[in-house]
Symmetry: C2
Subunit: 314 residues, 2 copies
Amino acid sequence: MSALCYQDIAEAAGRIRLLVHKTPVFTSGSINTILGAGIYFKCENFQKVGAFKFRGATNAVLGLDNVSKRKGVATHSSGNHAAALALAASMHMIPSYIVMPENAPEIKKRAVAGYGAKIYFCKPTLEAREQTLEQVVNKTGAVFIHPYDNDKVIAGQGTAALELLDQIPAPDIVIAPVGGGGLLSGTAITVKHLSPSTKIFGAEPAGADDAARSFYSGKLVPSVNPVTIADGLLTSLSERTFSIIRKNVDEILTAREETIIHAMRMIWERMKIIVEPSAAVPLAVVMEHTENFRNKTVAMILSGGNADLDHLPF
Amino acid sequence: MSALCYQDIAEAAGRIRLLVHKTPVFTSGSINTILGAGIYFKCENFQKVGAFKFRGATNAVLGLDNVSKRKGVATHSSGNHAAALALAASMHMIPSYIVMPENAPEIKKRAVAGYGAKIYFCKPTLEAREQTLEQVVNKTGAVFIHPYDNDKVIAGQGTAALELLDQIPAPDIVIAPVGGGGLLSGTAITVKHLSPSTKIFGAEPAGADDAARSFYSGKLVPSVNPVTIADGLLTSLSERTFSIIRKNVDEILTAREETIIHAMRMIWERMKIIVEPSAAVPLAVVMEHTENFRNKTVAMILSGGNADLDHLPF
């Protein structure tokens, strides 16, 4: 399905290096004491557009040939990938076309428009999004950049883990949240290559546990009616990400909604940084499965910081 | 009034170095674009107990003689100084006694208790606080550590600016918020010594502008019925801090409540970090007086991150 390997991620890192932030790694004495582990947080909430998605989008945009760059890029997304693709494109004077559901949060619409994208609104169904996107691609000739079912995107996302292992070498465990699986796939390939003894865990909301069910059944189970506050993790794996995850990930653990909210608040209160609900899922997994993590060095990716300040869950 | 000089601050820095966090300096491309200046934020919201106050409290505790260390330290405060003194004391096995108004926020009570302090509650008036403190000091023999009218405390607070000038050498302007004046005093002495060409500004809420009125009238005006969301900046200058500020500070500028709230939200949204209202006052001052800052390199101290997540002002 995908021949993506560590070399692609190392190349992506070189390609995007001057365009992305090298985000810091934070740790909290009080959280470590509470959970009995040494936890390191890779702060991709400080990445441009407030999420790791900017890495993959930038790598995908830079990988286009010159004809495609003139025609532009397109995607459907209500979330961080849309903003990331819009900014990555605008930084290279490339047109971008974003299909968004009409009920997307105002703040996301404004962010995407602010980065200079042309927005097409559609009904909030996957079918309407795909149809509208097809029309946009047909009309403009833009290249569809899928949020995760794309080797260039996955390679870009893997560069966060590459930096992380430079900052925290050979942790016992690395955890990344899993929605469509782009971040987890890139992370897993990177970590397996650079630190083969490190275990790689996916973290998923129990209310959207299609990746866990796919992983443990060996068959791709689509995400049907997921219910979770972690709005970045609603999507299903693709065959591409599923095959990478099966091969490289050790476990996928889930956390309940109340634990996700608790973890999110703990990060805000103890570390004074803003993370969105999806980014708190790895810490929530540690809170619900403490026995797996006790006395371990655990590095996790805080995937994004685009929380809606007008609608906090706590 | 006070013979405090740069040497005291340099000594404090050496003394507390291994006990405090060297906090990072952040910058935000989007905030710089909006305000037309290069703004650098010294993130004391990431300091232990979530505020710069830990620097001064630690320096004061370490400066005690052995007899005093056995008897302990005391203060009256509903805010960050109480938590800072409690933690600084407990790290050296020194007893601490904190007088708090009974209506102090639960989160602050829990924080102070969590650091092992003995808390005495009193009515929420300055008179009750001072009376209760006197009783506690008489009973225990503890040393009163004033939140700002104390040279050791001021010297400790000045170490934030010392680090800052190492991180951002010779900015055009340094801004610190001013309440009782401890942070601004320590900052001003440090900056005047290390970078004489840098201008030093105090930032104050318009609803608690006693420092500005004192500064421009040349007479210490006490803070009477201050009204501001910036709850760390309600107090009056002391003769000690006033004399230091008159000698070393270039200007004190004020900002309105709505600008403080706007600045606070801008820091949360654009930088993904949590600051309390008092910490947003310097940015609010830049927003209200843009002409003073345009095209300048401006370094400001984000004084603390202990915002009440259950009662956000936006």
